[in-house]
């Protein structure tokens, strides 16, 4: 069974359609990446899967639960990390992890979650300091830790390394890579092609609300005869911009 099944997903805001009937699935043990330009519909897709937005059409199923019918069950299975996710500034790092753990499991499970969170964040003694004193990198590590410490079946990470320096981004990527197991999967969106190449088992390129290409990074490089994902991205985007020109027919 796939942990995530997205079929014909459409999302409209009034007259604007942000996501136009997209399909993809994620089996357990996989890191799946959505890549695309700004406004392509990546975040909207992630928000629908995370039960934050309702879909206008299609179906989304997480661990056998439909997001529109059983949102509460879906929320038990996922962990969503928004782009530039913040933290309550008056809490200490540890208090924040305890606050999030408070929504999950039994008391002993929660204690284990916090223990894991502290380990994933890797902030040492600073975990007891107020979040308002943290650097951007430290805050990001804390929110990544909070997203992964609950051991979600599906972790949904929107631009997980956005705004981080090279060292912190590298460390966060390693944390994500280590979090995947046989029962768990990760869905992430990113602008960073190197990151996608390094992290993802499969990727889908989203443009103007549609998936225009999908496959493994290796397979796509072979198909397009490119040495990196960035080249593939640029080539597809170029084709897309031509297809959008008046008089051009889209497949």
């Amino acid at each position: 069974m796939h942990l995530l099944e997205v079929s014909g997903l459409t999302k409209s805001y009034g007259k604007t359609t942000a996501v136009k009937s997209i399909d993809f699935h994620i089996p357990a043990g996989e890191i799946f990446g959505l890549i695309g330009p700004n406004g392509a519909g990546k975040t909207t897709t992630l928000r629908v899967i995370s039960t934050l937005l309702s879909q206008s059409g299609g179906t989304v199923t997480v661990c056998g639960h439909r997001v529109d019918k059983e949102p509460h069950e879906v929320r038990k299975a996922i962990s969503y990390l928004p782009e530039e996710a913040g933290v309550y500034k008056n809490l200490r790092g540890l208090e924040y992890l305890e606050f999030i753990a408070g929504f999950h499991g039994t008391r002993s499970e929660r204690a284990k979650m916090v223990e894991d969170g502290i380990s994933i964040a890797g902030l040492g003694d600073r975990i007891r300091d107020k979040v308002s004193t943290y650097s951007k990198g430290m805050t990001r590590r804390l929110v990544i830790a909070r997203a992964l410490m609950t051991r979600p079946s599906l972790a949904i990470l929107d631009e997980p390394t956005s705004g981080l320096d090279v060292v912190n981004a590298h460390e966060v990527r390693n944390i994500i890579k280590r979090s995947v197991s046989e029962e768990r999967a990760v869905l992430l969106s990113s602008h960073n092609m190197l990151e996608v190449d390094y992290l993802c088992d499969r990727i889908a390129l989203v443009a103007s609300g549609r998936i225009v290409e999908a496959g493994t990074p290796g397979g796509l490089k072979e198909k397009y005869g490119c040495t990196n994902i960035e080249e593939i991205f640029m080539r597809i985007m170029e084709t897309e911009s031509h297809a959008d020109e008046p008089g051009q027919k889209r497949d």
Partner: protein, 417 residues
Amino acid sequence: MLMNLVKKEIKELLTPSTVAVIVVITILFGSMGKLIGAAKDEAKKKPSIAVVIRDKGPLADRMRAFLRLKTILVYDGDSREKGFAALKKNDKGVALLIIEPGFEQALREGRPGLVHVEWIMRGAGLMDTISSGILEKTFQDLNKVISAHLLDSARAHGGIISAHVLNPTVKIENTTYKKKRIPALSPNKIAQVLVSQSIAIPVAVMLIIMLGGSMVITSMGLEKENKTLETLLTMPVPRSTIVLGKIMGSAAVGLFMAAFYMVGFKFYINSFEAGTVDLAMLGLDLTIFDYVLVGVSLFSSLLFGLSIAMLLGIMAKDYKSAQVLTYPIMGLAMIPMFLTMYRDFDTVAPAVKAVLFIIPFSHPMMAMRHLTLDNYLLVTLGIGYSLAVTAVLIAVIVKIFKTDKLITGIMRVNRRA
């Protein structure tokens, strides 16, 4: 270059929030001006009174003539009961003046003349006691008329000029305030005692509601600005729990504030009791149960304030826009604040009465005055109404929490559509 900087500064400073503050202050001063204007008009009117002058003679005739000139006589006869009934029937009636037989004789014998005054107090608001204030002044002028009569009489017929001639009367007064008869005090003196309820309570309630409301709106604005709301909404917890958690958290802080306020206020009230007027002796004191009721009224109204703040907070995009959204709550709290300061619930027009009842913030502002007069029904009705409206608001908020509007923003979606 200078103009360039000036233009930038103006653009930065003249935001919708600053414009909103200016508009609110303008409206506020406008309404205050209107109220003061109404008070001035009221002060020009003659007070309506009833007189029972049982004494016969030239002084009685002179007093009657003076009162006819300076007041509107709703009754002029011999029956105290009929006079009081006529006074009560007239919704502007202020007092019943009784002069017993032998009044002039007493004055001639060098004793003070007794003037019995039965006041009717309709409300304890600042505007409710204007007419009794005017009548007090009329009584002072009546004393001058009596003094003049005594001096004229002494000059014409000879005789002793008593030491009382410049202050010839002693007033024996009682006040009927709603259903209570308060001995030995005029409405003005009672209003002075109750002034804390007229001014301090509405202001304090407004401050608590504004503080609590602003906490919730700011919290929602910060949740959106810091992107913590999205995380919170994906937690495996019902949306109703999130809404209740937010409201109850702020309400707990509000209750804490309210409890402190009530303790402080009890000391404040005690200071009046320890002074020249003993509220307990007059039957105007409050029991512990009354204070609890005032607290409950305040808390239920606070819950309403927090719920409406949350509803407004949903519209906030960030901290800055959240600040602007506190103004509707401020406006909603200021209407009953000014109304209850100037008028009693019973003395306002039916339409104003309806407005006061509809705005839940009015109820704690009026609760103490109601309880002073043992009017438990209005207080409990107010509590029930506030809780019912709060329940409806919470249901609406939970419904919105289940939609996209919280993430996409209500105003933005509408604009797009």
